[in-house]
Symmetry: C2
Subunit: 329 residues, 2 copies
DNA sequence: CTGAAAGCGCTTACAG
DNA sequence: CTGAAAGCGCTTACAG
């Protein structure tokens, strides 16, 4: 490990001067600046946290998401990373894998790096043990704000669930099944389901019991035979697009065609839904701009002591070919 | 910021004792351990790098990938993160966005955190300015090893390109167009293209000039009208699956059906290719196991001073419905 | 098991 | 503009 001491020696100056040059604090002659910079480059010098205040290092923020491989989250993450890069902050990531237990460990790991701030997408913000911990400035992303953590960037998931369900009702569907990841693993899914219930009740219909499916690395091998044997839905709402794809694949394996036999809709608006044929009907979340917004809010709070705010970003219902009008049938 | 001093005071012991308890070095009475831990928890204490050796903090590794939103990379990243979590290391990420210039900045940002090691997927390992820098133990992922950086985890991209092209040739295709991201942005794409050329030449055919398309956040709005006007390929090989999806969408917009009018194949084997209908023909990269392998290799090098190695992981040609046999036509 | 003290790499007034 | 020195938060022999 190269120390500042070594750099100073090579540059032929004192520790203090070398420090001033590299930290850009205080002034130094052009010649000295050159010598020190050169010595530092040659030795591959990297500062180590230090001194009173410990302001030496590049600040970093920690980001927790359920799963990097879900495009909704990787897209948010990407825009967070971009925004933070501009601000000269590093980004440290952690995944909860939709498991409240691992979530705690993951945040612990982030905290060990003493981040300037945190952006968290929790399994369930209301019950998470994390929010009892001593946290640096924190913004919730996709979780509604809590009393302790009032900074949040969200989408109106309940409204979205209601609007999507209304669309299906308007198309003549009555037997609408809500298929979801575990509610305990995603309070977003729970909110979306509430919206579904509201829409059903509005029309005097009994909501079907929701079906919760654990996320195990993917939904490739989803088996719907039992479900379809019991209920016979004309439409299925999946609590997220990845699950919707899994549902469509599973239906195909069972010999059903979408949307001819069953309509399918999802939530998230991941890019791949627009590339498939027919295009997926979904609630489009502005994931990239949500990420950027969360990052900006966090920076504002951490650097300018701005007050915590709750920002609700509008979503968009995108109707694709996976839902069919059955009112004329 | 809470200091160890404050924790010690609250626990009623000396700085030294508090340090020993929290760093698990040296011994302390059970009672003392409890008191110190409790005080640390109450104050939300987090260690800051320190002391001789600076071994205090959790070690971290830096990972550079072209783009988090490409499932191949997010999948590798996810398995790297999992492997590192088990080893008690944090993971810091950076994106190059397929831009060699941003790549340098991104690695600089990673280095500022003094990572124990680095896992890099470079635009072009042979020409990258990064490999001239003073780096900690480094593993290349998806780039072939260089003289300075002999540790690498790769797939035989040239062979894969050849094998995929042979498949199309065997199906009767002669006019096979290779469509690619910018070669300067991806030496993988260049290798795959070489394989394409080899296969064509093997059969005494002239390879068509490759078409390079810049990646600009996605391939949603790809316009192939000009291309299809000039050449009239019966098959298109895209240098990666994301591009292949873009191609299929663009073809559809131009009124072509896949595979009836044109066959399409890609590289990567991202999950979504198996969910679409027809399934994408592609070269399946074991992205998750490549990530885990790179992580394990890096840990072995950083912790056990293991020698750098080059590991080549087998790929798999997966034939889906997007290619058609035209030999009988 | 515990504490006083030396020491790490660094920064920042304080002199000159 | 530059350096000697004090000080930061921490760890680790060294005593007891």
């Amino acid at each position: 490990m190269t120390t500042l001491q070594q750099v100073a020696k090579r540059a032929g100056c004192s520790l203090a001067t070398a420090s001033r040059v590299l930290a850009r604090s205080g002034s130094a002659s052009d010649q000295m600046v050159r010598k020190v910079r050169r010595a530092a480059a040659e030795l591959g010098y990297r500062p180590v946290s230090a001194g009173p205040g410990r302001a030496g290092r590049q600040p970093i923020v920690g980001v927790l998401i359920p799963s990097i491989t879900n495009p909704v989250f990787s897209s948010s993450l990407s825009s967070i990373e971009n925004r933070m890069l501009m601000a000269g902050h590093g980004v440290l990531i952690a995944q909860s894998h939709y498991d409240p237990g691992r979530e705690v460990d993951a945040v612990e790991a982030l905290l060990n790096e003493r981040p300037t701030g945190l952006i968290l997408t929790l399994c369930n913000a209301a019950t998470s043990r994390i929010l009892g911990m001593a946290l640096p400035p924190t913004v919730l992303l996709n979780n509604r704000p809590t009393a302790d953590y009032p900074a949040a960037v969200t989408v109106a998931n309940r409204d979205a669930g209601r609007e999507l369900t209304r669309l299906l009702l308007d198309l003549g569907h009555r037997q609408i099944l809500f298929l979801s990841g575990n509610f305990a693993a995603s309070d977003r899914a729970a909110m979306r389901h509430e919206g579904y219930c509201l829409a059903m009740e509005e029309r005097g219909l009994e909501p079907l019991a929701p079906l919760q499916i654990a996320f195990v690395g993917g939904y490739d091998q989803l088996d719907l035979s039992v479900v379809l044997g019991r209920a016979s839905p004309t439409a299925i709402i999946a609590s997220n697009d990845l699950l919707a794809f899994g549902v469509i694949g599973a239906l195909r394996r069972e010999g059903f065609q979408v949307p001819r036999d069953i309509s399918v809709a999802g939530f998230d608006g991941i890019a791949i839904g627009r590339l498939m044929e027919p295009q997926l009907t979904t609630i489009e979340m502005p994931d990239a701009s949500m990420g950027a917004t969360a990052a900006s809010l966090l920076l504002d709070m951490a650097e300018n002591a701005a007050p915590a705010r709750h920002l609700e970003i509008p979503y968009l219902l995108r109707r694709g070919g996976t839902v069919r009008d059955i009112s004329a049938d």
